[in-house]
């Protein structure tokens, strides 16, 4: 079939025109005769991105019956979408067009006009060669489901569910225990300082339970998930009754599975049993919530309390961020309960990140809570032995010992990660898509992580994440709107694939699955992000990335090296 390629060079005002010889480019590319059945239309134009310029291009495409289009102009970051838009309004498939950036890469990098022109010619000829090898691609629109599955009924899951349901999204909230609220609902006061949040948290729980758009499923866990953003299918199962399985169709998921605590009894320096007066900070919180006072196992108020920070920090290898404040809050609570209680806080480092924390710490210190910086500390029951930073050794017996164990991933986190097909950080918490710039998304589109499932943090940061994830979902999945998945994705060439599974290993998104029957790798197009890493890894050349195929890049390359 005869090919008719239109090549249009934009003057970009003086930006390109002053620094490259456009006439010379037109003359040179018009003479290109390195392909059969090829006709070239090459013309200069003032400003192709202007309204007139776009109309001109449309007219040229239609009147000349162009089969391919090459534009020599600015960076694709400026106007690639402009020209794709132009193509879409014509009969020309936008994937048969190529923009060559002769402004940033030729006109602006050298004062020598001849050299700039020479490079521009070579660069455009590469684009011309490439475009002849490009294929039409068709964007497929997919219906989406705006409903959301929230995994975990703690404060993170509750907040995400409310933020979505208030925007009229149907939310399925599954919780593995028999109640909502998680650990936060057992706190009498919350950080920063000692704000009373019981009512606020209870109100949120009640709102979730009564919400017309939220279906709460207690004693329920996730069994299986398949699909992709906008079209997931989940199977959830009752923990009490294994026969009871529910199928849910959703568009996105929020993982809010929370945290567990490091088991201090496994640490060689902390020797205690269930009979000893040794408690975790969380147990004290729960005691306060239940009976509004702290007592020893014999029912007496403790006269002396040791509070030990950073239990297991060395072992897990990170700071849990909120325990220092939680412990200071409890120290204050002991002083409120009985001002003459001796409260000694044994710490190694203090982490006081919130702007109110320092003042609160100063206040508690002024109330007589003693802070002892220790290098090493060990307990045997409620007998404490320690070495201070200046190497003084001490040994004291207390009525009660409160430990702040490190926060660790919730039980079942690895299993959940496998079911969801998302990665874990080296600490065992769920891994975000990008630590700095995409902190609530995961590598899988449509799956978000919030709260302590993502790592240690307090309630405030947890709620911020839950709200962020909810708004991301609200933007990505708009009821009634279709999504256009990336079409420049990888595909396997069945005849060449030898089934080595290398591509499955390198794909960060789990977009490649293995077809056991055929013994070949198959790309899940809706999941593929189109990076082409699998192409680079394939030893038999059996994968190609659409729009970045080897023949296409070869044509560009061959021109560059001639």
């Amino acid at each position: 079939m005869k090919k008719k390629v239109g090549i249009y060079i934009c003057q970009c005002g003086p930006n390109i025109a002053d620094n490259v010889d456009i006439d010379k480019i037109i003359e040179s590319v018009s003479a290109f005769n390195d392909a059969d059945d090829l006709e070239i239309v090459a013309k200069p134009y003032g400003l192709l991105c202007s309204g007139e310029g776009k109309d001109y291009l449309k007219q040229e495409i239609e009147e000349n019956g162009l089969t391919h289009l090459v534009i020599g102009a600015c960076s694709p970051r400026d106007h690639n979408n402009t020209f794709i838009g132009v193509c879409k309004e014509t009969s020309l498939n936008p994937y048969l067009y190529k923009l060559i950036n002769i402004r940033e890469h030729c006109a602006w990098i050298i004062h020598d006009k001849d050299k700039a022109t020479e490079k521009a010619i070579q660069y455009i000829r590469g684009g011309l060669r490439r475009v002849l090898y490009q294929s039409e691609l068709f964007e497929n629109k997919l219906d989406t489901n705006p409903d959301v599955l929230v995994i975990g009924g703690g404060i993170a899951g509750i907040e995400a569910a409310l933020s979505l349901a208030d925007a009229d999204r149907q939310v399925f909230l599954i919780e593995k225990t028999d109640r909502l609220g998680g650990k936060a609902a057992t706190f009498k006061t919350v950080l920063p300082k000692q704000q009373d949040a019981v009512e606020a948290i209870q109100l949120k729980i009640q709102t979730v339970q009564d919400h017309p758009h939220i279906q709460v499923m207690l004693n329920t866990r996730l069994d299986r998930i398949i699909g992709f953003l906008g079209n997931f299918e989940a199977e959830v199962r009752s923990i009490d009754d294994a026969e009871k399985m529910t199928e849910l169709k959703i568009g996105a998921m929020v993982v809010a599975s929370g945290f567990s605590l490091y088991d201090a009894s496994t640490h060689p320096d902390f020797i205690f049993s269930g009979d000893d007066e040794v408690y975790t900070a969380l147990q004290i919180e729960q005691m306060i919530a239940e009976k509004n006072q702290v007592t020893t196992r014999s029912g007496k108020a403790p006269k002396s309390v040791a509070m030990i920070h950073c239990v297991g920090r060395e072992e897990v290898g990170y700071c849990s961020q909120i325990c220092c404040n939680a412990m200071i809050k409890l120290a204050a609570r002991f002083k409120t309960q009985s001002p003459d209680t001796t409260v000694k806080v044994f710490f190694r480092d203090l982490c006081l990140p919130h702007q109110d924390d320092q003042a609160f710490y100063n206040e508690i210190k002024a109330q007589g809570v003693e802070f002892v910086r220790v290098n090493r500390i060990a307990t045997e029951g409620s007998q404490i032995k320690f070495t201070t930073m200046d190497e003084n050794e001490g040994s004291e017996l207390f009525d009660m010992v409160v430990l702040a164990p490190a926060m660790i991933p919730a039980d079942g986190t690895p299993d959940l990660a496998t079911k969801l097909g998302i990665s874990l950080h080296e600490t065992g918490f769920f891994q975000e898509a990008h630590q700095a710039i995409n902190p609530v998304a995961t590598a899988t589109d449509g799956i978000f992580i919030v709260g302590t499932a993502h790592g240690p943090r307090g309630i405030q940061a947890t709620l911020l994440q839950a709200q962020a994830a909810a708004s991301k979902i609200r933007v990505q999945l708009i009821p009634g709107e279709q999504i256009v998945p990336e079409v420049r994705v990888s595909e396997t060439l069945e005849a060449f694939c030898m089934g080595c599974k290398t591509c499955l290993e390198v794909c960060h998104y789990g977009a490649i699955v293995f077809d056991e029957d055929k013994g070949i790798s198959v790309v899940k197009e809706a999941v593929c992000r189109g990076c082409g890493n699998c192409v680079g890894s394939c030893p038999s050349g059996a994968i190609q990335l659409k729009h970045f195929t080897n023949p296409q890049l070869y044509q560009e390359m061959i021109e560059a090296v001639q």
Partner: protein
């Protein structure tokens, strides 16, 4: 080798970091030689080693690969794969007696226009000194 040797260098630049860095070099009007022709790829990991060898066999005097800095890959781990493949390719160059200095891998972020220009200047200069790629003449495949 003629008096005026104009090296031919192909640069595979990832769309997100290095290509954008190259754009910035242009918008900042930084000057660098025209020997380098860029080829945009979505991720540096798309560039398979065999393709690079083909570039040399076809006459490239030098090949530059530009990717995001480690940890900054738009596709999370693509550049780590690039780095591994690059190390292996270099060792293959050694065993085939090819000049591995004609290959260069650089991490250039979207904000590193000056670095892109510097890398282009250095690399062109180096290839200029090395002279034309002898592979095209010597190898028959």
């Amino acid at each position: 080798m003629g008096k005026t040797f104009n090296p031919k260098i192909t640069a595979f630049l990832c769309k997100w970091c290095s290509y954008t860095g190259a754009d910035l070099a242009g918008t900042s009007r930084l000057q660098y030689p025209t020997a380098i022709i860029p080829i945009k790829v979505m991720c540096s990991s798309r560039v398979d080693p065999v393709f690079l060898i083909r570039a040399f066999l076809k006459g490239a005097d030098g090949v530059l690969i530009g990717g995001c800095h480690p940890g900054d890959c738009h596709y999370e781990s693509g550049n780590y794969h690039t780095r591994r493949r690059f190390a292996i390719l270099q060792s293959i160059f050694d065993s085939l007696n090819l000049e591995k200095d004609r290959l260069r891998l650089s991490w250039i972020s979207a904000s590193e226009g000056p670095k892109f220009a510097r890398v282009c200047n250095e690399f062109t200069d180096k290839i200029q000194k090395m002279g034309p790629n002898p592979t095209r003449k010597n190898m028959f495949i």
